[in-house]
Symmetry: C2
Subunit: 768 residues, 2 copies
Amino acid sequence: MNKNYIVPNEWSIVEEVFDTKNVKASESLFSIGNGSMGQRANFEEDYSGETLQGSYIGGVYYPDKTRVGWWKNGYPEYFAKVLNAPNWIGIHIQINGTNLDLNLCEVANFRRELNMKEGWLSRSFKATLKTGEQILVKTKRLISIELNEVGAIEYSITAVNFSGEITFSPYIDAGIVNEDSNYNEYFWETLQIVEGENKGSILSKTLKTEFHVATAMNVSFTLNNLKLEVLQETNIEEKSLTYSYKIDVSQGDVATIYKYGSYVSSLNYKNNELIEASFQNVQTASELRFEDLLNLQKQSWATIWRTADIVIEGDIKAQQGIRFNIFQLNQTYMGTDARLNIGPKGFTGEKYGGSTYWDTEAYCIPFYMGTKDAQVAKNLLLYRYNQLDKAIENAQKLGFTNGAALYPMVTMNGEECHNEWEITFEEIHRNGAMIYGIYNYVNYTNDFEYIPKFGLEVMIGVARFWYQRANFSAVKNQYVILGVTGPNEYENNVNNNFYTNYLAKWCIEYAVESLQKVKNEYPEDYSRVFAKASLTETETKEWLQVANNMYFPFSEKHNVYLQQDDFLDKELIPAAELSKKERPINQKWSWDRILRSCYIKQADVLQGMFFFEDKFTKQELERHFDFYEPLTVHESSLSPCVHSILAASIDRMPKAYEQYVRTARLDLDDYNHEVDEGCHITSMAGTWMSIVQGFGGMRVSEDGKLVFNPQIPKQWKSYSFTINFRNQILKIKVNQAKTIFELEGTHELQIKVNNKTIIVTPNNLVTV
Amino acid sequence: MNKNYIVPNEWSIVEEVFDTKNVKASESLFSIGNGSMGQRANFEEDYSGETLQGSYIGGVYYPDKTRVGWWKNGYPEYFAKVLNAPNWIGIHIQINGTNLDLNLCEVANFRRELNMKEGWLSRSFKATLKTGEQILVKTKRLISIELNEVGAIEYSITAVNFSGEITFSPYIDAGIVNEDSNYNEYFWETLQIVEGENKGSILSKTLKTEFHVATAMNVSFTLNNLKLEVLQETNIEEKSLTYSYKIDVSQGDVATIYKYGSYVSSLNYKNNELIEASFQNVQTASELRFEDLLNLQKQSWATIWRTADIVIEGDIKAQQGIRFNIFQLNQTYMGTDARLNIGPKGFTGEKYGGSTYWDTEAYCIPFYMGTKDAQVAKNLLLYRYNQLDKAIENAQKLGFTNGAALYPMVTMNGEECHNEWEITFEEIHRNGAMIYGIYNYVNYTNDFEYIPKFGLEVMIGVARFWYQRANFSAVKNQYVILGVTGPNEYENNVNNNFYTNYLAKWCIEYAVESLQKVKNEYPEDYSRVFAKASLTETETKEWLQVANNMYFPFSEKHNVYLQQDDFLDKELIPAAELSKKERPINQKWSWDRILRSCYIKQADVLQGMFFFEDKFTKQELERHFDFYEPLTVHESSLSPCVHSILAASIDRMPKAYEQYVRTARLDLDDYNHEVDEGCHITSMAGTWMSIVQGFGGMRVSEDGKLVFNPQIPKQWKSYSFTINFRNQILKIKVNQAKTIFELEGTHELQIKVNNKTIIVTPNNLVTV
């Protein structure tokens, strides 16, 4: 069964029982971060039980040497790994000389809370040591959004039944390792350890990539809330710096340590300025004190929630689930730095190399567009624009020429990080998502200028790729795309995957159409890009030749497009008829059996219809949904949201809700039995979409109008969400009976609701 | 360019120049072995240049932990590695205290000879040491066929320009490693080192598999051909045993060491008897002395050549090439032990795990049937029969039931050793080769009894596999086999590979037909097997339902069977039009590009037509040859031989000869630039077939008659070969003008030559 120990709560993730079996899962679920850095909810004090220690700095990675069974030409030599960073949170605690370790003492009244409204993590418990001492521990921790290189800890101990000595030994440890290392290598080298009075810093660098990072700490103490100066003992080892402070306490006393930490890296500073900058940060933090840092944090999160919150009435677990998803997405990516992106596990784990998948364009951009300023989504697009050269190199490695670009399946710096031929070389539909991201962004924001300034170059590189990747089939008398893997990774190396062919054709057409528009409206940009890309009019005509004659597999009998050429040779048995002991098939079946089965991992033909819903009739959507969804096993975290949205759009609310439930509490209820490794961050954006685009039925039509077809699951009383649409904030509340719109902005908005156009004026409620 | 330093010679492989760049290649080419043990031609004395040390014991392997990029369900945990064994040949040589090392001294008059007629390896050279001493070295080495656990070395040094001291330090080193290790582990543990007077032995065991091996040596000396007793100094280290012998020489003296070595293993002895058995072996060898061992060796090889030799007149390089192939095949496998098989590199290198591929059934069995007693081929079949249980387990791992058997792609002990899903799980045509091997054997030897006694069980397991692996395609209204890789590994995960479907259908039909015959002729065996396999009459009917309705992709336009369903979607551009710098494509192109290209690695549809030539008309063969051969890049060592044979059978002698040349001297001329890693043993059987079945046009028709359609390449004056056919020896000599048959045996033979039946009586020449 799924884990079910998280206490339902509207605004917090709460755990009320200490169970060593849940420690790793909770480390993931209670993670905190600020988009630039983040960490798993590891304990500050020592813990000898099972744990995955993880603290991460955005953009700092390590190129681990690729491990393969059999080398194939074209594989990348290296695989950029998410990198566990030096530990700044650690505090060894001793009570009368005995180490505090929750794995080795009696724990009572344990409570952990991740307060999502205000952005902090707390923990309290009563511990009885083997030696008899009882203590009450209360901790609070945050990673500051305002001071985005700073974290802070408040750690209090009450001497319940004894008088004696409490030793706090805060430390920085740069001798950390990755669990996920191909050859058990060390990724970090310690360069310098600087000590000082109640403060210290370690300068380390990553091997190979040579990112330099200074990790600093600053500590102070109170006894019964009164500031206390304590004698410092210093212990410097090869890769760590530890201070020890002994405090004499009487029974009932409360001794507290404040530990401020900071990461600064060579992404933002010169190497020789890092130590100083790290000291500056912890100095600033300690001067503000924990309380003020906490107040700043509350303000920062209030600002985020104002435009991002979704309120669900009548279902507290659903409420907790959706807020958890929104909270984690914000912890992972704030949108202020175009060098960063949204890793599949965010700052909650180290599994999966790279930070960026097509998930960003296909799932995450809508969330960030809907809840933040347009600049945030633009930064995500610029990330790819800045990596265009690498995408061209990547395509060259695979034999493409003339500036054709293939974006990597997984990347950190633009280079490919994946090494399975059927994915790396063949799951090329990702290239289409890059363009869909631009299209989606331009429609939503109306910022067409992004195309002449940046997007057009990407569109040309991708169009060239599709043009070269298709070939003419004499037997079909059309262009085909052979040897691909679609979004359904349960089929590999298939021919004419509908989704891939559709995107290929569309990418070319959209590129040519955009070229025309840029030519007319931005002639200078047109000339610049035309020259830079060495484009000719003949070339675009050749592209169109392919696009206009693209082949799509279609079944007359079923009246549906086929997922790939030979799909109907398979035995089509609904997934519901599979016995429970065979599920999930990716754990129970051998790979070949999965491949030749009809079972679909995640939306494939339907992914295309989700992207381009406007281009299909409702009847087409229904037919394809009814053909493919029963064959879909939803074994990707990205699957249920798309199906939920499509089901809602064809008025199948029970199915839409069923699929929504599978995505909303995926990690909180640990459906996939792997939350101990980290959370599924990118699919959380899909959950947001399931409400806003699914139940809320929100679209932006191609002419830039907002469209709503709101529905409500019968399990809920109401739900409301907020949309940042072209710099105005629109609030939508859907009841069983009506929908209410409220606009914060400066000018009225025409909205199409259930096919009727309404006008919403600022600061007035409109009920439909 | 290819290496071209081997001196043409009818009976020997000869090298006359010492070049450090050729050392590793020569180590492979000059390898010696006796089917039970073998070794690369490493120098006895120290060598500090590039070398691949390798000495191997048949059947002794190590299960190396699998290394993969991404784990797939069904992958084997371990990979049986060919195992480098303790070194018994080593002799450190010192001249007046200076080490002899060909990498560090001046070498003149170097000559190395592998005498294939008599089965020994010799080396001679003049070395001038940095310290000025000149010596003349002559060595001879053999691995005895008669005493198949024994090797012997004669190593003579003439003091050319000095008087002084020569130190011989023969040793056994059990501290050896594999180059091909996934995790740089040691594979061996040293258990015991036993010293003695001029003899010693080390007992070691392999980790995990716990094979125990004793490696012994025995040494003696002569000075100017007179026996010499020399004082022995002993040095025992953790994993090695070294004796040192100092001999005072005057200028012109010849000092000689004889070193006899032996491997004995727990495959043949109890662990506690190994040391004693190894001593016994080297004692026997030393009593026989080197000369007698050499005489025995000449006799053994004379016996082998009597039934295996192929003589080519008018082309000395072709003569050398074919004898090299026949020689290496015999060194690799003698056929006396059903636990052994034919590794792809034999005893010439450690690359590729496992010892057994489908090469054995598809390529090697005809050679061993043609040149040895029927028992040898029978042992190869029994190897698979004995591994049927493992094949059933292997199929179970992939989801098959009811005794369905899938033989492994690569194996040592019956367990799968390969770990690429597209090969391990999908290159299932190998299962058909198991049955083809039986069919071929029974036709050739007329030993039908093999089927009721052994083969039938294998046939049932394989038929069950095909029955379960096919599925009914509603759209084709026939049975299809989805997701396979054919012999052409340049297509992966394709549907309805003609070759696979053809074999599947044939395997079922042959099984049912054999069942019927066994039922009639061997009722007791029938009952036994029927019960053991829990077979029912209904079940075989269900098999036939699949076989009788098997789908085969066919093109009306080209009038050929298609390699797979979607083959005609590819751009069909002859390989000849590829630019030279793109060849070989497996080194120049990324894997996806290869997969979606039309280029064929090795015979695929044509492999089926080669196996079942009788079942296709000559016109069909021509059409398929003309369609597929131009698209074939022959980048497998197994490709040219099949094409050569088919070309000959459709009277395309220039093409047949062109393809023959590519296979005959593949290693001697190092076409693939990899002979330094070892020789391509299994393809050598293909070379033999190219002459006997190709130019010689030999077949055994289904009614058990010998058929010949001999032709001769215009480059040759004549060629002759020998066939052991049902215990009679038939010699065939083909001239430009005529063919001469000579039979050694007891009863006349009816042979069909060029469609006319002739009668050959024992000891008479018949000329056609």
